[in-house]
Symmetry: C2
Subunit: 270 residues, 2 copies
């Protein structure tokens, strides 16, 4: 293999992640040498891998990979990627064995107002293709997210993506929650979209604290009648949404504020 | 970055091909040190790249990469991959610049009967998601093809894939042509699927030789009434199809045979 004219070598060259996006990944927050929600992240990695007929690698090996990145007090964004092992057979997946990739990247530098005053979102013009077999999985085929992330105005932080049948689905890098008729609702991800670890955690937290949370089909028209909206992911916890296109929301609204407090995420609790 | 526990380094680590499948590729046949249909392949690479807002790299550099693989008389499968250059900004594509990957892999060892007696195909259970913005492009998000390539019986060589609305679209690694009511038809790829270089070449060849070829919407029911069927790609040229599920076709049929002769592909002409 040659990369930009230079010979590159290694076992990784045939990786199906590079050639087909045949793998899954997770992005986790690392603060002071500690991976936040580590067990939940690994559990989610395992269930996503299984959904692509992949086995989680030996847990000791994966743990050793991660520990090797966590020098005393390191902070950053941990990316764990599992790719189906190459068997030289073209598209046909002939093994459940994975190769492991881990990487620690610098922490993003988000202004504090994104938590205290909320973020601004637009509506994505790109509609997500409907593929129930891949929906919800955090796999490596992410061109739709790439295309949806182009050309945002400077004051926009996220886009709300609908699927080809008009269902509100998720942000480009977050899951979405709305308060509609005093009920917390997050989109059903059985048709398109990515189900983040933080989404699961929020659904569970809401139910545990008696708020109740429904997973359902949400139309743009229902979003128009929402009283609160927020976005979630592993890195930021909860970002209240103050605007989607021309729609405005209190940010954070009362229920969002209660969840931010109870979530106790290192960044969104304050 | 660590790969299976070992530190790996290089400019390529952040490649968006690995992390998002943000790139395009081509597969070309190399025989005796010559890339078959080289100009057509590069032209197609350029138009696919442009469809993802990517620029083709400096042609001299790309040519030098390819030449470096073509040792005196080398034969094999050339894989050219272009990935958007990393800019450390997450999904957002902030550049049209590409990194270049080239690789020469061994020739596949297909039995001659696949040309002389045709191949057997099944119907894929997986329906292709509809995404007009990506349809036709030979990009690196290929999980649908991976899933469709699982679990074939030993005597099956391809699957016919329909999109979510039931339109016959393409094979997992080939384009499809049918003779329906004496007219050659190939599916419109504006909704899903990959438009191969050989498909373009065949459409042009048919039109030049007075056969006429339509690009249109094809239902499974119309396939049932086809008198001939064949699959195309850069490596094999034309493979007559003798069976799709329980449907049988003459292989090669008379029109297929004429096109195989006129195509003059190193493998499918004989």
């Amino acid at each position: 293999m040659r990369f930009n004219g230079r010979v590159v070598e290694g076992e990784w060259i045939g990786t199906r992640a590079l050639h087909y996006g045949d793998g899954v990944f997770r992005t986790a927050l690392v603060l002071d040498g500690r991976v936040i929600d580590r067990e939940l992240q690994i559990a989610k990695l395992a269930s996503d891998a299984d959904a692509l007929d992949l086995d989680l690698p030996d847990p000791d090996a994966l743990n050793a990979d991660i520990e090797a990145l966590l020098d005393a007090g390191a902070s950053g964004v941990l990316r764990i990627l599992l790719s189906r092992r190459d068997s030289g057979r073209g598209y046909a997946p002939t093994t459940r064995l994975c190769d492991r990739w881990v990487q620690l990247k610098p922490l993003p530098d988000h202004p504090r107002e994104r938590w205290s005053q909320g973020i601004a979102a637009g509506w994505s013009k790109l509609l997500l293709g409907i593929q129930p077999r891949l929906a919800g999985i955090k796999h490596l085929n992410r061109l739709e997210q790439v295309l949806a992330s182009r050309g945002w105005p400077d004051d926009q932080h996220e886009v709300v993506m609908c699927d080809a049948e008009g269902r509100v689905t998720c942000g480009s890098r977050s899951n979405l929650f709305f308060v509609i008729d005093r009920i917390l609702v997050t989109p059903d991800l059985g048709f398109a979209g990515v189900a983040g670890m933080m989404r699961d955690k929020l659904v569970r937290l809401a139910r545990e604290t008696g708020i109740g949370c429904e997973i359902g089909l949400i139309s743009p028209d229902e979003v128009r009648h929402a009283s609160e909206a927020f976005a979630t992911n592993s890195l930021v916890g909860i970002w209240p949404i103050r605007r989607i296109g021309s729609l405005e929301f209190p940010a954070p609204g009362p229920l969002t504020q209660a969840l931010m407090r109870d979530l106790n995420h290192p960044w969104s609790g304050c």
